[in-house]
Every structure is written in C-alpha cells, then in structure tokens.
Amino acid sequence: MGKETIQLTVNGETREIIVEPNALLINVLRDELGLTGTKYGCGIGQCGSCTVLVNGEPVLSCLILAVAVNGANILTIEGLAKPDGYLDPVQEAFLDHGAIQCGFCTPGMVLMARDLLNKNPAPSESEIREHIKGNLCRCTGYLSIVRAIKSCAQKRG
C-alpha cells in the first residue's frame, strides 16, 4: 500500500508528513509529531479524550483518517496556551478549581470548554454539561470541571 504525503497545519505550524493510508489522526499527532497531549482512551468514539479541533471544530481524532484531513488546520491542547506561555483562561480555571485529578480527560475537556465559550460566552450549567457530555472523566465526578467552566462564563459575563 502506497504511502501518501499530506500537509497539516498543527498549532500554527505547517508541515508535510508522510503517512500510511490507514493512519489515524490521533497516531500522527502523537507518534509522528510527538504531541502526546491528545490521549487514546477508547479508540471507538466514546470517551472523548482524543478530542482536537480541526478547522476550528472539535472532532475525535481516533476516528479520523489522516489522509482525510489533508490541508486542514489542527489545534491540539499543546496549541491552546498563548505563544508567550500564558495559559488560556479555561486552563487557569481548571487549575483554580481542582478540575484536574489524573489529567487524562483534561486535554479533551479543556478543548470542549474552549469551544463552548467561543460559541456561547455565558453558558448555563446545563448547557455546559450538554456540551461536555461526550468527554468521560473517571476521577472528578464532573463537579469541579463544570464549576471551572462556569467560572469562565461568569468572568466574561
């Protein structure tokens, strides 16, 4: 099976990558590009830990063929903090509210929270829970995560 050359802009940097046709985006990000913030949790679209933004929209990288996103703009958790190193307000809020225990669900949760606040700056608790319902957390029971995201909503007010 012939390899393909694809172009991906990942966290602002455009590069050419040679991939097998059966390569999944999650493995290209983690193994080829060394961006291991995106996690493999279930591989079948249920846990949300592989969430990344493709062309600004959150998707599950474990179910995306790399060749299908040739030319796309990808944001992983590593690309969320500002270039000068300051954290995104969502990241600060997660730290402030103890919304990180083992940290495995965190990259997906933070990206979904960022996506929600971009679209709806002052979400209600039920809107928050609805938006992150595809991201499973085995540690926190979600309370601290919801509080963290709600606190961002209130700040923007």
Binding site: N27, G45, L63, L65, M112, D115, G134
Partner: protein
Amino acid sequence: MAVNTRILPQGLECLFPKTIHEAVQMLTQYGPDAKVVAGGTDLLVRVKQGLISPAYLILIMKIPELINITKDECLRIGAATRLCEVLNFCAADEKYAAMSEALHSLGKVQIRNIATIGGNLCNASPAADSAPPLLVFDCRVKLYSMQGERILNLEKFFKGVNVTTMASNEIMTEIQIPSIQNGMGSAFTKITRVSADISKISCAVAVERRGDLCASCRIAMGAVASIPMRVRAAERIVTGKKVDVSLVEKLGQKVSEEINPITDVRSTAEYRRKVTPVLFKDVFWRAWQRAGGKA
C-alpha cells in the same frame, strides 16, 4: 484475539473520487472489497473491531454534489452533509422539530462535526436517531449507481440490523423531506443509559390537528425492532378521532404491542415494552401541543 482499537489493523487503500459518478465507478470496480466512507464514525469503529475488513475505502466526504441543503418543493439534503449542518438548519424552523430534537440528541458535538446524515441511514442501526423523524416526515432517499438513479421511500430502505435494500453498487446521494404542512407538530425523544449514548428506545411523532380532532398522525420507533419502524396500526386508531387522555393511553399500548424488542447490552425486551407507552405518550403530547401552536 484481543482487539486493538488504537489503529486500523489492516492495510488498506484510500480512494478520493471527485464526483458521485467517479465514486460509483470505483464501487463497481472494487465491489465487495470496498466500503464507502463519509464521516466514518460508525464504519471506522467496525473496521477497528474487526467486524469488517475492506481493502479499499472510497472517501466521499468532500464531493461537493453530496454536501448541500436546499429547499424547493421538498427539502433536499446531500447525503454527505454533516449532522451539525443539518441540525443548524432544522433548529431554525420549528416545522422540523422532531428532526432537530433527534439530531441534537445524536451522539455528541464531536461526532456531529464529522458524521453525516447519509452515513447514519446507510449504517442502518435499528437505533439510528435520524431515522424516526425522517420516517414520520415520509422521507425519500436517492440512490445512484452506474445504471442510473432511483428514489426510494425510507420505509423501504431498512431491511435488518446494519442491512439495507441498497444494492452493493449503489451510493446514497440525497435525502428528501417532502414539504411539511403548516400546523404540523412533531417531536422526538430518546432514552439512553448515559447522556451520550446509542438509544435504548426512541420515538418520533408528527401530527396535524383540527381543534381536538387528529387530522393525521405518524409514529416511528427506534431501537425496538430490527429496523427503525413506522407504527401504522397505531396511526390508524387515532386518525380522524377526537384526541383525549384515554385515546392516547390506548395508542401507547398499541405501540407497545407492535414493536419487536430484543434484550441487548443497552436494555431488555421487557424494559423496552414497558417504557415504550410512557415514552410515546410524552412525545405525542408534545407534538400535539406544537400542532396546536403552543411550542
């Protein structure tokens, strides 16, 4: 043998047709070794689990003719249109309430940004959430092959679990929703184990009313038979009749008799039979309120 869902276990070749015609040519050429992929959120899971092993994937998610939503004498949706786009469209028009409720509850945000409406139908899960509302709206699907195209009523499309009446050399190109009368009220609800989950039971109802009389009623259930199904036996009971609490009770019992549920990982046949009338009543009354102009 343990399944490794981290990767697609076998080598395969990806084909990128630029038009529908190219896609069906490839499908005809490679036959049973090929699978058509749009969003891939169902298909790639089945490949990972080793349930299917295609040697060729025909990727249609970027063919422009398959991605569009247009309204003329009916609502036409390209089969590779993403669910998030269909949801946005339907949510803006309360005539499509059952459809927007179904799509909003389908999966989660990340899935709807990739998955397509054609894929949801062609995967033909009995629990497909877009099916019950499309069935109550009398949806038709357009299928295309090297021999040309045909239009099929959605009711005749589903055949069994993950099985459709689509020929192996056909691709779904369009979903058509006939024009919906003003004054039709519709609703959809699904029951799940956890909040982002495949349905245990789902129900869609579309009704037209004249005062207290039911002018027309369509009922569809998902996840309670081998295919998403219309419940015409119940529809016949209520059409033309005065709607009151006891009639709707009777309808719920009839729906429960007509379904053919099994016990699986998500629910038991007994639960599905017992809860169906309760779910149906909720959905019916909501559709009825909407038909009366009270959202």
